[in-house]
């Protein structure tokens, strides 16, 4: 308890309403995108189009979380590229190995 009283001299800056408003707007966007994904999951037929929608909306959500919540958008360029460049290579790996999975299926069906 004594700690609480002895350090209360630090000056607290008033909250900036616009910053909080921006954060809440991003939270709302994330929520609406998730709701939209749900609507798609139940109204659209399964297939390549639906998967493309899901993956691209996921990347939209990832963009908002990383750039605004994790503040990456406001960091130096060299830091942004240090993080984004390796992840672009990962995207290539996703495409390559999902394609590979389809080939394994084709081989299996051909053999058995």
């Amino acid at each position: 308890m004594t700690h609480l009283e002895e350090t209360s001299t630090v000056e607290v800056k008033p909250a900036d309403k616009s910053v909080i408003k921006r954060l809440l707007r991003i939270a709302l966007i994330l929520f609406l995108v998730t709701v939209f994904e749900f609507v798609c999951a139940f109204t659209m037929p399964r297939g390549a189009l639906l998967i493309t929608i899901f993956v691209s909306l996921t990347i939209v959500k990832a963009f908002y979380i990383v750039s605004e919540f994790m503040h990456l958008k406001y960091e130096s360029k060299v830091l942004i590229w240090s993080i984004v460049l390796p992840m672009i290579l990962v995207v290539w790996l996703i495409v390559a190995l999902i394609y590979e999975g389809g080939s394994i299926l084709a081989d299996r069906t051909a053999m058995f």
Binding site: L4, V12, A15, L23, I65, F69, S76, L79, P86, L93
Partner: protein
């Protein structure tokens, strides 16, 4: 001419020591690189899921007629349709949707704690850190329910593995639910990947809750205020947002696709 020379000089100075070329503190930079390596690990797991999922045939029939089989990959809507306290009612994906929402909300409270830290507002840092911890614990509780439901089995008509081959599925005789050796929902790999990926993510959430609790304590007793800045909240925040981000991907790849 003159401007290009000055650019060259500042660029040289930036990398010749004494300043951080990344313009962030050492701790934050190392957190970013740790998260990048952790992203590789999760990418490896999720890409494995994608590869194996597409190496199995997909279910072709109508969703309402879905019965699991070892021959095709299950439809997630049909597998994950349970909600606590509503036994036997099928509400597809509602519970994981709620879990996603809880984790996104806890990410919002975390970002508010970071914002309060910038203003040296100890009272609000404490408040928002506490809400973040509550959100994390709620998520873990939901995941515990999700696991126990998955392990125990759905109890649906015609679901289960007929062990003695008599064509009748009987409780106590035949197998229901899933573990690492048997899986009523479809191919064995589906259950293995479920346990591994959601379990690995759950461990991250648990570590995040522990980390947040330490920071919460340090903020509450005034350690961070005496240090003069709340950078620890920012570092824990980076980790917490990353955990949220991974769940967004797990949600898409495991539950939606």
């Amino acid at each position: 001419m003159a401007s290009s020379v000055s650019v060259e000089q500042t660029a040289k100075k930036l990398w010749s020591g004494g300043v951080s070329p990344f313009r962030v503190s050492y701790g934050k930079l190392m957190m970013w690189f740790f998260l990048l390596s952790d992203a590789f690990t999760f990418s490896g797991l999720l890409i494995t899921y994608g590869l194996l999922r597409y190496s199995y045939p997909a279910y072709e029939g109508k969703l309402s007629d879905f019965v699991p089989s070892q021959d095709y990959w299950p439809v997630p809507e049909a597998v994950f349709d349970g909600v606590p306290f509503l036994h036997g009612v099928s509400i597809p994906l509602a519970f994981v949707g709620l879990m996603t929402f809880i984790l996104i909300l806890s990410s919002v409270t975390m970002v508010l704690a970071v914002e309060a830290g910038h203003r040296m507002d100890r009272k609000n840092v404490i408040k928002w850190m506490l809400w973040t911890i509550v959100g994390g614990l709620t998520f873990l509780g939901c995941q515990a329910w999700e696991w126990s439901h998955f392990i125990a089995g759905s109890g649906k008509e015609g679901w289960g593995i007929d062990l003695n081959g008599d064509g009748i599925l009987q409780a106590g005789v035949d197998f229901f639910g899933a573990n690492l050796a048997m899986n009523e929902y479809g191919p064995q790999l589906f259950a293995d990947l479920f346990f591994f990926i959601t379990g690995f993510h759950g461990m991250h959430v648990l570590s995040g809750v522990v980390l947040n609790s330490v920071i919460f304590y340090q903020a509450a007793v005034g350690t961070l205020e005496r240090r003069g800045h709340y950078e620890m909240v920012e570092k824990a925040g980076l980790y917490w947002h990353f955990v949220d981000l991974v769940w967004v991907f797990v949600f898409t790849f495991f539950y939606l696709i």
